[in-house]
Symmetry: C2
Subunit: 227 residues, 2 copies
DNA sequence: TCAAACAAGATAGTATTACTATTGTACGCG
DNA sequence: CGCGTACAATAGTAATACTATCTTGTTTGA
């Protein structure tokens, strides 16, 4: 048993994959496979072969691969929120809290021994390349009603809260927070695949620090604007 | 024949759809269908039924539906660039040029009689909901090598150019430009489907003006930052 | 004017995907 | 002992994303 585990929305899975051997295997191996193959080429059939189980068995945990993806992405956002929560303990200054949040958002992700079953580095790549696909669908409204996007929304609210603490007059706290959260990942994708869209470079060592620097400029200067 | 037509990359289509009746129909009707069904539910078979042609005939114009989507999105970015080019005629001040670009980027899109075959309003909705899918794939690097993303990159470069005219010291011109271009559409998507992520509201009349206002705050304050 | 070239319709076929349904079995618990 | 749970095994289906081939009708240019 784990020391810590996140409680994800009930609607995400048919049965809690953290509770059984097979469930944990599904989560663990699907991260590796989606990272390697990309979400479109990833199928339950291939996953079943890899974990030496059957398609039907996987379907008992996740309604379809879309829900599984949302499950993984949600886990990621909860993890980040947990890290930020932890990071701002005993810090009173809202500016400092926001700075810490940005740093954690942008920093390179490494294995977290608290969650031995999750390959956070692979999951991070999945978030960068696939997370938008969770909501860019025709069923977004139904999925949202079921609370499937709480992970992202919750962290956005937290960051927007820091922003409003700094300047309660600022009228676009949530817009700025969501824009920054998206940009944090998009810029890394661009750096790797469409480098002419960004100043970040995949080859530079401090890419993640540079990304945090960019986000800080964008956020802090926007907050204290005379509107 | 049209007065004006954009020259899109050769690699986007197997044969130029602007040249034939069938080609124009494919483009025209695919816009309506993707807007209505969403990209995943849209198929060449359904399109063929609608235009009373055959799947095989459509495949003679576009290798697959992914390329067709890129074709449409590219058309959109070229159209925006053309509108901005037109809008900044005889304007010398870089600040003003950037302001115009932001306004055009964020404003509500209406039918452009210059291009009678294209339903710009539907295409705009497609860009908002589907454009990220053009590059969030495992073949992004090959597609990029073929020059399929020139439309987006070109406009990004243009906007980054305005930014650097205003402040040549600013080190994240392209990052800021790409972030703003993405945010411009994302915020509208959020306003409609995930309203807790934005201050914009689908119901407010001046949503697009508000969006432009948000982007201006973000961009102009970032540019003149002391780094 | 005749033939070659091309556009596009008609038809058929394939591998894969995303499921659903049913049955059988091994294990643990009261 | 009997019951439920977990899961394997197998089969089947509709739809998708193509590919291939053959035919017809139209244009064109020598």
């Amino acid at each position: 048993m784990n020391v810590l585990q996140f409680v994800l929305s009930e609607n995400l899975s048919l049965r809690d994959p953290q509770e059984t051997e097979l469930g944990r295997k599904i989560v663990q191996e699907s991260i590796e496979m989606i990272d390697m193959l990309g979400f479109e080429c990833f199928t339950f059939k291939k996953l079943a072969q890899r974990i030496e189980s059957t398609e039907a068995s996987i379907y008992r945990y996740f309604e379809n691969k879309h829900k599984l993806l949302i499950y993984l992405i949600t886990w990621y956002w909860q993890w980040l929120e947990y890290k930020i929560d932890y990071g701002i303990q005993n810090i009173a200054s809202p500016k400092q809290k926001l700075e810490i949040a940005i740093r954690i958002l942008a920093e390179r992700k490494e294995k977290d021994p608290t969650f031995p079953e999750i390959n956070e580095e692979a999951l991070y790549r999945i978030v960068i390349a696939e997370s938008d696909k969770t909501y860019l669908t025709k069923q977004v409204d139904e999925d949202n009603k079921e609370g499937l996007f709480r992970g992202f929304k919750s962290l956005c609210k937290m960051i927007a809260g820091f922003i409003r603490e700094i300047n309660p007059e600022f009228e676009f706290a949530h817009s700025l927070a969501s824009t920054a959260m998206q940009a944090a990942h998009q810029q890394l994708f661009f750096a790797r695949h469409l480098p002419s869209l960004t100043e970040l470079s995949d080859s530079q060592q401090d890419m993640h620090a540079q990304n945090a620097h960019f986000l800080k400029i964008m956020i802090f200067n926007s907050i204290n604007s005379a509107t």
